[in-house]
């Protein structure tokens, strides 16, 4: 009896799991599934691809380099770093209605916002309005941490190198310049504007910046970024927020303004325009380029032909491969099954 009990005690559990007999679904990549699957995926992708491609084609984009490298360029004069407060006029003309809403971007190339040292060179606590970090900014901000012993606010390379060209667009109507109104609201992430970046709750805002200095390259301190609108001043200035979101690649564009108001809500009508650029931002020292871009968007965002083409290519490859597989199967499989 004792032996029997021992046996029972030692006997392994007879469950489906321990005996490796769990019920299982055993799918197989067989021709019956894969070939129709490929055809379906292929057709779906081709459909999406066509839609994307057509949409992308319908998007209008106007790009203009205003670095001023060539002597003929209107901004050539301004590209000299010794020239201060230079304004250059970029004239262009639009043939047909540029459908709205029109987005106005500035673009930089050969500009590495993704340098590791650069992209960490900020203090998120300081930017969320923590006054302790006004007094002693994070080490990551170095070398833009302090001037002497006075802390820089906002500290760090990113803030220091904030893009500071400004643009004004005029339509030439009967020889007169008519200002095209820019909408600078809501160009940054909602969460950045409302949650992540906060001004210190000190009024007036200027007082919070006592015993601090402005970033070295800035012409004016943070609390004067937009004196006209308190909701766009300091750390929650939309341009500042846009700049602070570091770009992924060295050639990038950032949203500057939208054209949504007044006569231009439906878009930019055909005609001649002048873009008045306050040329401040030096890029030639590192072989960079500056440009402005007008673009409108669709349901899938901005102009992006790559996605449409990629979908088309992959879709047709799927269809093609399904045909190849069909041939292979006809050759190798069917005689055997007979």
């Amino acid at each position: 009896m004792v032996k029997q009990e021992r046996e029972i005690g030692n006997r392994p559990d007879n469950t489906a799991f321990t005996q490796q007999r769990l019920p299982a679904w055993q799918p197989m990549l067989s021709a019956g599934i894969v070939i129709p699957g490929f055809v379906l995926i292929g057709l779906a992708f081709i459909g999406i691809g066509v839609a994307l491609f057509v949409t992308s084609r319908s998007i209008q984009v106007l790009e203009m380099d205003y670095t001023g490298v060539e002597p003929t360029s209107p901004c050539f004069r301004c590209s000299d770093p010794d020239v201060k407060n230079c304004v250059c006029n970029l004239a262009f003309n639009i043939d047909t209605l540029f459908k709205g809403p029109v987005f106005f971007y500035y673009g930089l190339s050969n500009y590495f916002q993704n340098y590791r040292k650069y992209s960490v060179s900020k203090d998120d606590d300081q930017l969320s309005g923590d006054l302790d970090n006004f007094e002693s900014p994070s080490d990551t901000c170095s070398p833009y941490e302090t001037v002497g012993s006075v802390p820089i606010v906002p500290c760090g390379s990113i803030a220091n190198s904030m893009f500071n060209d400004t643009f004004k667009l005029y339509q030439i109507v009967n020889g007169n310049e008519k200002l095209v109104p820019f909408d600078g609201k809501g160009i940054a992430w909602w969460t950045d504007y409302n949650v992540k970046y906060r001004n210190p709750s000190v009024t007036p805002l200027k007082n919070a910046f006592n015993n601090t200095v402005k970033p070295i390259s800035w012409p004016k301190p943070a609390y004067e970024l937009d004196t006209s609108d308190a909701a766009n001043n300091g750390f929650i200035n939309q341009d500042f927020l846009v700049w602070m979101r570091t770009a992924a690649l060295p050639d990038f564009r950032k949203l500057y303004r939208r054209i949504t108001e007044g006569d231009y809500a439906k878009g930019l009508p055909a005609g001649n325009y002048t873009l008045k650029i306050a040329y401040n931002y030096p890029v030639l020292s590192f072989q960079g380029r500056k440009m402005v871009v007008f673009s409108n968007v669709s349901w899938m965002g901005g102009k992006n032909e790559f996605l449409g083409i990629a979908y088309l290519v992959v879709g047709s490859m799927c269809v093609f491969m399904s045909i190849v597989m069909l041939i292979v199967y006809a050759k190798f499989k069917f005689p055997e099954e007979d």
Partner: protein, 1010 residues
């Protein structure tokens, strides 16, 4: 401390106290073989010469405590036979682990070269000062002052840190977990549970699970491993009438009366006489002794004889079995008393025979005889021996019938003996006595003259019949060996037994078949020819046959028989110098062409030597040793995988083994199913791990080209850390625990599937290269897919989900998160594509991991984490998901990444399907139609005691194979008895055959009827 104690203790004495201790180096007597007799130590101690005759066994010394002598202790400590035959346990590494390490070195090399390339490119790229330090990214003073070499070195280290994830540290953790947890499936396996022992399989090391799927050579012990270590009398045949005792059931002896089934079938006078003579012959013609008391454990072979304290013992277990068998047929040998042998016959009468002469057994004659004088005064010569030595000397008797029966039994693997007798007249007897005495007294050539005398006496026999004894094979041993053969393994039997016995077992266990051409490499042959000639001749034979038969090699297979002495000669010749011909190579060459090899007369350490020899041969095959006794330990330790049988000879082997199983038959499941599964599981695990880390890190490498080689990580720290730990760890771990690419039933049915994974086929370099290339391809797709979406285009969200925003720009963290999302989905879905066995666990972990990734990302980006000093991931994931193009590109990139693998799989399956893929197809086909039939039929054939579904796999083949050791069904006996007469002998084979095939039809089967 070993050796024969033939002489009294050393004849010199001396003061035991004052003598200084001296150490002598004593030559070792004939390397470690079992021939201890040739001693050559010569040693002078104070002018006393010590030779082997002075050697004394340690046990004797300790027993005789007399006055103190001065003795020299030799062969002590590490030089004892025990210690010399013991091998220290060395660490075993599996082939998978070795290739894993090789792959790792490649990846280490890749890691270093990536870091070097990036460092070099960084400085090349930074050559122009505007790139080195643009105005917007000034360095600190400290950094500027640092020497360029130090800077370069720190950069190199930073790249190493950035790319270090390519070395899958987590793989080692996962592999260990897989091995540890996976080994539970072996211990849990109910089919490997032995009711008798009350134990299942044991796993002593989990490091070698996958090695079980790679075995190419199986070295097995014979006694106790292949056989039950239990001789059993099966049947005898008197003049063609078959007698079968079926007495031993589950180790219990039934009462004698019920065990005789058919002796009393129409006893004719002539027949009756032969019958009586036959049984008496077997009771008398032997050298069995009756031991009245239970003495030392060494008399294992003794079987209880009526009284609990008496055993039959003999140097030959066969004889014990025969006498034991006779007892069950009603004739009990009682004792040898004052030269009279006493027999208790069927009618419970004691018969006494005077034992006059014993003509001992020798292997040349292959027979033995006794001359006895019956109580009625008749002189009788009884002889039993091998058929080949008896039949030529027979003058009358039913030779044909007996011969047929003997041949049949031999085919069945039984050990057969023929029994004959001769009545001697008084004068015959005197003449025989004369011959014998003359020979025995001869001073010269005694053995030769004895042989001549035997030859004269043993002639003119009347054939009585034949016996069949089985060294009972373990249950399903033959089936197991057959499966192993089919699985492409070479089975070697290593045994200390003599050749004939071992060969019989090999035939019985289907190691050798009738078609097998046996090559002999034994001492007997090497005495005739030189070793050199024999080896070359055998090699020629093998090569000739191979070239002749061409493609049909497997039709004609070779079996080799080699003995210990020859083996050591082969190995020794090689040690002496390469000039004497590389015997080892020739020997290995012969072995390579033999599907089965039998090594007999082996010393324990020689077993290990053989294993070592094969291990070291140029193909480096994976070896497995299986044994049950202490003498197998060295071999078990030497082989790549050592398996111990929890046998009768203690647990030494089981304890020293890597895996212990109750029975030899469990080896089949161990290798063909568990081994196979573990191998494919771990192979996928290893390859997949490298793949997913390439996918993971290669985009980061590519990103360096677009961030000025500044070591900018592409992914957030949390993603970097958790990728291997949480997002992609569980699916592969669970895959590597539960995957079954084909079902257990298919693996069992078709052992040749094992060949598909032999030679580490899933971890070869081309496969590894494929996986790595796939990883690189996927990584390129991820990275450049995202790159083209971001580069120079206004890749933005249209902000429909968040109405306040209509346009948002994506930064570098969104870029990384996009790549990472595609990455996690792709590698997980790649595993899903590879998974063939979707249990709920697989569904749970695969979809669960993806869900976890999404939830984690939402959470990680959804909150301002107070303990972090950067909030770079804040809302990044949500913003990405709110963008239509992001969704579209994720779908596109995942599809593109998976496409090539799918296409490759489908095309390979169609164009050159592997055996495993064919089996999968077959399974799928059969699952449709036969699904309803199979479980029913197998349930019916299953033994009634349990309704466990786990036993449903018992295939038809298994139930049909009838083993001779199984008690025969009652009905069958009745048939045999009714058949009766002389025809029975020729008929019975068919009856038996039929019984084999029709076993399932004898409805309830033996288990219920006995």
């Amino acid at each position: 401390m070993m050796g024969p104690a033939t002489s009294p203790p050393p004849a010199w004495t001396g003061s035991p106290v004052t003598r200084p201790i001296m150490l002598y180096k004593i030559p070792w007597p004939l390397e470690r073989s079992r021939r201890w007799t040739r001693y050559t130590p010569l040693l002078n101690v104070n002018n006393h010469s010590l030779t082997s005759t002075n050697l004394w066994d340690a046990s004797i010394y300790t027993r005789t405590k007399k006055s103190p002598w001065l003795a020299v202790a030799v062969y002590t400590g590490m030089e004892t036979k025990m210690a010399l035959n013991y091998q220290s346990k060395s660490q075993k590494r599996s082939a998978v682990e070795k290739s894993m390490n090789a792959f790792l070195i490649v990846y280490l090399f890749i890691l270093i070269s990536k870091a070097v390339i990036n460092t070099v490119l960084k400085y090349a790229w930074q050559w122009s000062p505007d790139r080195d330090e643009p105005w917007y990214n000034h360095r600190t003073e400290n950094e500027r002052q640092r020497h360029v070499v130090i800077r370069a070195f720190t950069d190199f280290l930073a790249f190493m840190v950035l790319f270090n994830y390519i070395i899958p540290v987590s793989m080692y953790v996962t592999v260990e977990m897989q091995k540890f947890l996976g080994s539970y499936f072996i211990t849990w396996d109910e089919e490997m549970f032995d009711e008798e022992l009350g134990e299942g399989a044991q796993v002593n090391t989990s490091d070698l699970n996958e090695e079980l799927g790679q075995v190419e050579y199986v070295f097995t012990d014979k006694t106790g491993t292949l056989t039950e270590n239990n001789m059993e009398f099966i049947e005898c045949c008197v003049d063609g009438n078959v007698y079968i005792p079926h007495a031993i059931c589950n180790g219990q002896i039934l009462s004698a009366a019920s065990s005789i089934d058919m002796i009393d079938s129409s006893p004719g006078g002539y027949r009756r006489e032969h019958e009586d003579l036959f049984f008496r012959a077997l009771c008398l013609c032997h050298t069995v002794q009756v031991k009245e008391e239970e003495t030392v454990e060494s008399i294992k072979r003794g079987i209880h004889q009526g009284k609990p304290t008496s055993f039959y013992i003999s140097s030959s277990p066969d004889e014990v079995a025969l006498v034991e068998g006779m007892k069950r047929l009603g004739y009990t040998y009682l004792r040898l008393k004052d030269n009279y042998m006493e027999i208790l016959n069927k009618d419970d009468e004691i018969e006494r025979f005077e034992l006059l002469h014993v003509l001992n057994f020798d292997s040349v004659r292959r027979r033995m005889s006794v001359i006895v004088k019956s109580s009625s005064g008749e002189y009788l010569l009884f002889c039993k021996g091998a058929d080949s030595s008896i039949f030529p000397r027979v003058v009358s008797g039913k030779v044909e019938q007996v011969k047929a029966r003997v041949e049949l039994n031999a085919v069945e693997g039984l050990r057969t003996l023929c029994v004959a007798y001769r009545k001697l007249s008084e004068s015959d007897y005197q003449e025989a006595c004369h011959h014998l005495n003359e020979a025995k007294l001869a001073l010269q050539d005694r053995e030769q003259r004895l042989a001549q005398a035997y030859d004269i006496i043993e002639r003119d026999f009347v054939l009585l019949g034949a016996t069949a004894v089985e060294d009972r094979l373990q249950e399903k041993a033959a089936d197991t060996i057959e499966s192993l053969h089919k699985a492409g393994m070479k089975v070697w039997v290593l045994t200390g037994d003599k050749m004939e016995t071992a060969a019989a077992t090999c035939y019985a266990s289907k190691l050798f078949r009738r078609s097998t051409q046996i090559l002999e490499l034994t001492k007997k042959r090497t005495e005739e020819q030189s070793l050199h000639d024999v080896l070359f001749e055998l090699n020629r034979t093998v090569i000739r046959q191979r070239s002749m038969s061409g493609l049909s090699v497997d039709c004609l297979d070779f079996g080799l028989i080699i003995d210990g002495a020859t083996l050591s000669a082969v190995l020794k010749a090689n040690q002496e110098g390469a000039g004497s011909g590389n015997y080892r190579e020739i020997f290995l060459d012969i072995c390579r062409n033999c599907s089965a090899v039998l090594c007999c007369r082996m010393a324990p350490l020689q077993k290990a030597q053989i294993v070592k020899l094969i291990k070291a041969s140029k193909e480096h095959p994976i070896t497995l040793a299986i044994g049950d006794g202490a003498n197998d330990v060295s071999m078990i330790l030497e082989a790549h995988v050592g398996i111990g049988i929890m046998g009768k000879e203690g647990r030494q082997a089981a304890r020293n083994s890597d895996y212990a199983i109750p029975k030899f038959k469990h080896l089949k499941k161990m290798l063909l199913i568990h081994g196979h599964y573990y191998y494919i599981r771990i192979a996928e695990l290893v390859q997949y791990f490298f793949y997913k880390n390439v996918c993971f890190i290669f985009p980061q490498f590519l990103y360096q080209f677009f961030c000025g080689f500044s070591q900018q990580p592409l992914y957030d720290t949390a993603y970097l850390t958790l990728y291997n730990i949480s997002f992609t760890s569980l699916p592969i771990l669970l895959y590597s625990l539960v995957e079954q690419h084909v079902t257990i039933e298919t693996l069992k049915r078709d052992p040749s599937l094992y060949r598909g994974i032999s030679k580490n086929s899933l971890l070869r370099w081309p496969v590894f290269l494929y996986w790595t290339c796939l990883g690189v391809f996927d990584a390129v797709i991820f990275f450049f897919g995202a790159y083209f979406l971001f580069d120079n285009t206004t890749f933005t969200s249209n902000g429909q989900l968040m109405t306040t925003n209509t346009q948002m720009m994506f930064g570098n963290w969104t870029f990384g998160t996009l790549v990472f999302t595609v990455l996690v989905f792709t590698v997980t879905l790649k595993l899903a594509l590879d998974t063939h066995h979707w249990t709920w666990i697989n569904h749970f972990v695969i979809w669960g991991s993806l869900l976890f990734y999404v939830i984690f990302s939402l959470l990680w980006g959804g909150i301002i984490w107070p303990f972090l000093n950067y909030q770079r991931m804040y809302y990044v994931f949500m913003q990405m998901l709110s963008s239509g193009p992001a969704w579209l590109s994720i779908i596109l990139l995942i599809t593109v990444s998976l496409l090539p693998d799918v296409i490759k799989k489908v095309l390979c399956r169609a164009m050159c399907p592997t055996a495993i893929e064919r089996a999968q197809d077959h399974e799928k086909l059969s699952r449709g139609g036969v699904a309803e039939l199979t479980p029913l039929s197998s349930r019916r054939s299953y033994k009634g005691t349990s309704t466990d579904s786990s036993h449903l796999h018992l295939g038809a083949a298994e139930t049909l194979s009838l083993h001779r050791s199984d008690p025969l069904p009652q009905k069958l006996l009745v048939h045999l008895a009714e058949g009766g007469g002389a025809d029975l002998c020729s008929l019975s084979p068919y009856v038996l055959r039929l019984s084999g095939a029709g076993y399932a039809y004898y409805a309830p089967g033996p288990e219920t009827s006995v």
